[in-house]
């Protein structure tokens, strides 16, 4: 009967007892990918690869994981694309309401808080999204916020999320983190690298991650936020 229907049904329970059955269906899917952001003194660089996959297959090589939330605030997310897209739309709608009420754009720190609240709202059925927010704070300095799936967040000088995170984060730590707070006085969270140095670093880390992480590759989208606005760049990555 099951064969005729063409789908797999669990075996009929015996008369004696019901067998325990593990669930095969999940509401989530991981579409892979990696996101990185680095905050500078007066700029912020946000980058993500453009590969969207499921299992061992590639769905598309040209899918953007980056979304502009406001004039000075960018969101990069990896994880389950359906949840990510909905999260982006949700934040965008809230931003419109904010603009109507206050006649101005939301600041990056405000948007960061809003994202945290939005994620925690679904604490018991989370958005499968691993987020990095990057932009300029109220003083024009670069800021990066890193999140977990349920909204725990922290302002940092740099961060990465997603499938390539484990490969990229140690490299960023090596390059950007001061060796010890005793050697270098605790500064603000931003790095002292110039914009082009930060961009080169990100390009190198992505190229490296694409070598070993099967879910990262195809191409990389990079956004730079600074006082003059937002600039986009693309870089090819390995397609395998």
């Amino acid at each position: 009967m099951a064969m005729a229907m063409g789908c797999l049904l669990p075996p009929e329970p015996s008369q004696a007892a019901y067998r325990e059955h593990q669930s095969t269906w999940s509401p989530y899917e991981n579409n892979g990918g990696t996101c990185v952001a680095i905050a500078g003194l007066d700029y912020c660089v946000i980058a993500a690869d453009t590969r969207m996959s499921v299992g061992f297959s590639i769905l598309t090589r040209e899918h953007s994981k980056i979304f502009q939330l406001s004039e000075k605030c960018i969101l990069a997310s990896s994880g389950f694309q359906a949840d990510i897209r909905t999260l982006q739309k949700h934040l965008d709608a809230r931003h419109k309401i904010y603009q109507h009420e206050h006649n101005k754009q939301m600041s990056c720190p405000a948007m960061a808080q809003l994202l945290s609240n939005t994620l925690y709202y679904k604490r018991f059925f989370p958005y499968y999204a691993f987020n990095v927010v990057g932009g300029l704070d109220n003083e024009g300095k670069g800021c990066v916020y890193t999140y977990d799936a349920v909204g725990s967040y922290e302002r940092v000088g740099y961060s990465s999320q997603g499938s390539g995170m484990q490969l990229i984060m140690p490299v960023l730590d090596n390059q950007l983190k001061s060796a010890s707070p005793l050697l270098l006085p605790a500064k603000e969270s931003a790095t002292s690298l110039t914009e082009s140095e930060a961009i080169d670093l990100i390009k190198d880390t992505f190229a490296s991650a694409a070598e070993r992480d099967i879910y990262t590759g195809d191409s990389m989208e990079l956004l730079v936020v600074n006082a003059s606005g937002i600039r986009r760049e693309y870089m090819e990555l390995k397609k395998d």
């Binding site: 739309k89 949700h90 709608a93 419109k96 309401i97 109507h100």
Partner: protein, 274 residues
């Protein structure tokens, strides 16, 4: 309009088949200062007369952005108007969320009209005391609509509501055939000239009027003081309405004042209307 025994409740019909409370609500709109709207093939312009309740206060804001493609101008109880604009904004945002496309103007106007109608059929509510001119652009082009407290809505090529709007309407009636082919600048000029007709003993300045434009390729923008001044300075004097029409309009607004026993016609309207 005079008081009678069928006007206490909005849910009471008069023997003549009228709902007086709804009509009184429309009076509140006529008490507000003038608002003008006109459209061409590519743009819609809204212009308002801004009144300040005293020399010390700021001018009442009567133009609101609803979405990138829709704006409204209100006359009457602006407090009611703010509630409606909040509703309209949320409807646009929700539609955009679900359909990822802008809410067609006529659809929104219909929703507002239905919302207004509810207040005309509940004994524990009162009609909204504000009239809206809704300007917007969607896939079918630019549109201008009017929303009434009665729950009716109408589409126009050009219209004016509020006090002394008849003078503005006369100007619009004379010139409307040229609007369709008008340029953006031409349309704004016409709107300012129309609104000028509704002013009494005042010159048009950047502080007593506002203008908003929306077009096929232009998001709704409310002109700032600098741009508005350029337009006002560029107005041509020869396009004003003859004096007789202005007089007729003044008599009409005196008559429309809420009738009381002294019938002096110069009644103080207790509500803040603008």
């Amino acid at each position: 309009m005079f008081r009678n025994q069928y006007d206490t409740d909005v849910t009471t019909w008069s023997p003549a088949g009228r709902l007086h409370q709804v009509e009184y609500a429309m009076e509140a709109v006529k008490q507000g200062s003038a608002v003008v709207g006109l459209r061409s093939k590519t743009h819609v312009v809204l212009a308002t007369v801004n009144k300040a309740s005293s020399e010390l206060s700021s001018f009442q804001r009567k133009i609101f952005k609803i979405d990138d493609h829709i704006g409204i101008a209100m006359a009457g109880l602006t407090a009611d108007g703010r509630i409606l604009s909040r509703y309209m904004r949320l409807e646009c945002i929700n539609h955009n969320f679900v359909y990822e496309s802008p809410l067609p103007v006529g659809r929104l106007v219909l929703q507002v009209a239905d919302k207004a109608q509810v207040c005309t059929q509940r004994s524990w509510k009162r009609p909204y005391g504000v009239g809206l001119l809704v300007a917007g652009v969607d896939q079918t082009g630019p549109h201008l609509y009017q929303n009434c407290p009665s729950g009716n809505y109408f589409e126009y090529i050009a219209f004016a509501i509020g006090s002394r709007s008849q003078a503005a309407k006369t100007y619009l009636e004379r010139k409307y055939e040229t609007f369709s082919e008008s340029s953006r600048e031409g349309l704004i000029r016409h709107a300012l000239l129309a609104v000028k007709e509704s002013l009494q003993d005042e010159e048009l300045t950047t502080s007593n009027c506002s203008v908003a434009v929306v077009g096929v390729d232009e998001s709704l923008t409310i002109l700032d003081a600098r741009n508005l001044k350029l337009f006002i300075d560029g107005l041509d004097e020869s396009a004003s309405v003859p004096a007789e029409d202005k007089q007729a309009d003044e008599d009409e607004s005196k008559e429309q004042g809420l009738g009381t026993s002294d019938g002096s016609g110069s009644d103080v309207v207790p509500m803040e209307t603008s």
